[in-house]
Symmetry: C2
Subunit: 211 residues, 2 copies
């Protein structure tokens, strides 16, 4: 299949417009099964090492499970604040960093390791996890094109979340996603606007042939 300049512009616009969406942007609108399936189908087109497709998805709609995960977030988030100093700790405390209970659907994305050797994973064992991350990014971009927001919550204890979800011991939690319709997507990453971190300049990130 050949793509043209028009298609390239669509990809570029979606890449640039994708945002990590937090709780204060999500609306009450439910997420339909067909929208959810379209997002999950995008995940399965991700590259995977040795075509291992080492991903599993837990779709969470049960409020009691969301509340339990939200408690884990609150604990870890308080613990996190203490690691920043002075003004940054104060600024951190004001940030809204997740939308666990505000979203109709949470998705826990797991890496399911193989018990046999996997082509391409014999020298770099992390490749299995990286495949799952690619699947998450595909979901994020597909959702954005559908004007649906996703927030990736990483301020959680993965083992505690696994316990709540009764996940098999060998599975690794890669991502905990909050998914739903939004009132707007911010123009820029919120942490850039709030001057938490400046945008890096591409030329400062590139080397030629070696360091």
């Amino acid at each position: 299949m050949f793509f043209g300049e028009n298609d390239q512009n669509v990809i570029e616009r979606v890449l640039r417009a994708r945002r990590d969406v937090r709780g204060n942007r999500f609306t009450d609108r439910d997420l339909s099964d067909s929208d959810l399936e379209r997002i999950l189908a995008a995940a399965t087109t991700a590259p995977s090492v040795g075509y291992s497709q080492p991903w599993e998805f837990v779709i969470i709609r049960d409020p009691s499970i969301k509340n339990a995960v939200a408690k884990i977030f609150e604990f870890e988030n308080l613990r996190a604040q203490t690691q920043f100093e002075n003004d940054r700790a104060l600024q951190y405390a004001k940030l809204k960093l997740e939308g666990i209970t505000e979203t109709p659907v949470n998705i826990a994305v797991f890496y399911t390791p193989s018990d046999k050797p996997v082509l391409g994973q014999t020298s770099m064992p992390d490749m299995g996890e990286y495949s799952v991350v690619c699947a998450v990014q595909n979901m994020w971009l597909m959702a954005r094109a559908m004007n649906i927001g996703i927030g990736w919550v990483s301020i959680i204890n993965p083992d505690k979340v696994k316990n709540i979800l009764n996940a098999p011991k060998q599975n690794k939690l890669i991502a905990y996603l909050c998914v739903g319709h939004v009132d707007q997507f911010l123009e820029k990453p919120e942490l850039e606007t709030l001057r938490w971190e400046p945008a890096k300049v591409l030329s400062s990130l590139v080397r030629y042939d070696n360091y």
Copy 2:
């Protein structure tokens, strides 16, 4: 920005048409600086934990460096073959799994850890690496929309590659990419066509509320 059904279809087609491209598909055509910059710009729009943008890119055009990396691949690839049994070892030996010397440009993508705490990375330390993987997937999709192929070579010893590139000790090699124009993109993943692994059915990968 609001996207319509047309944009959604473009995203879906690019996601599905993206392939891991190996050496036998790349052509002699050079990669222009403007094409390369467009692919790198796509990387920088990836999500990153705490807006840390923890990525660096080494653009390799020097044949002697490519040859040195290709030697590392050959060693690791022979080692890998011994881990598969009987027919699979024979099948493995026949596969072309990289395009290091066949491509005009290789890109080594590094994770650059921060020496300060990073927002969102305090409970899940792997989030920094995962951000870099999202950047790689963005590059892959942008390149595919530009009809440019990327192959991710993971059958290498990352420390040996770091030595060749004189990379700082704290940097972690996340991906080694072979980038160039191609004669065609395969309809399906090659490992599916060759029956190395079957495609998984989405319904088998989804759980509801918990395991």
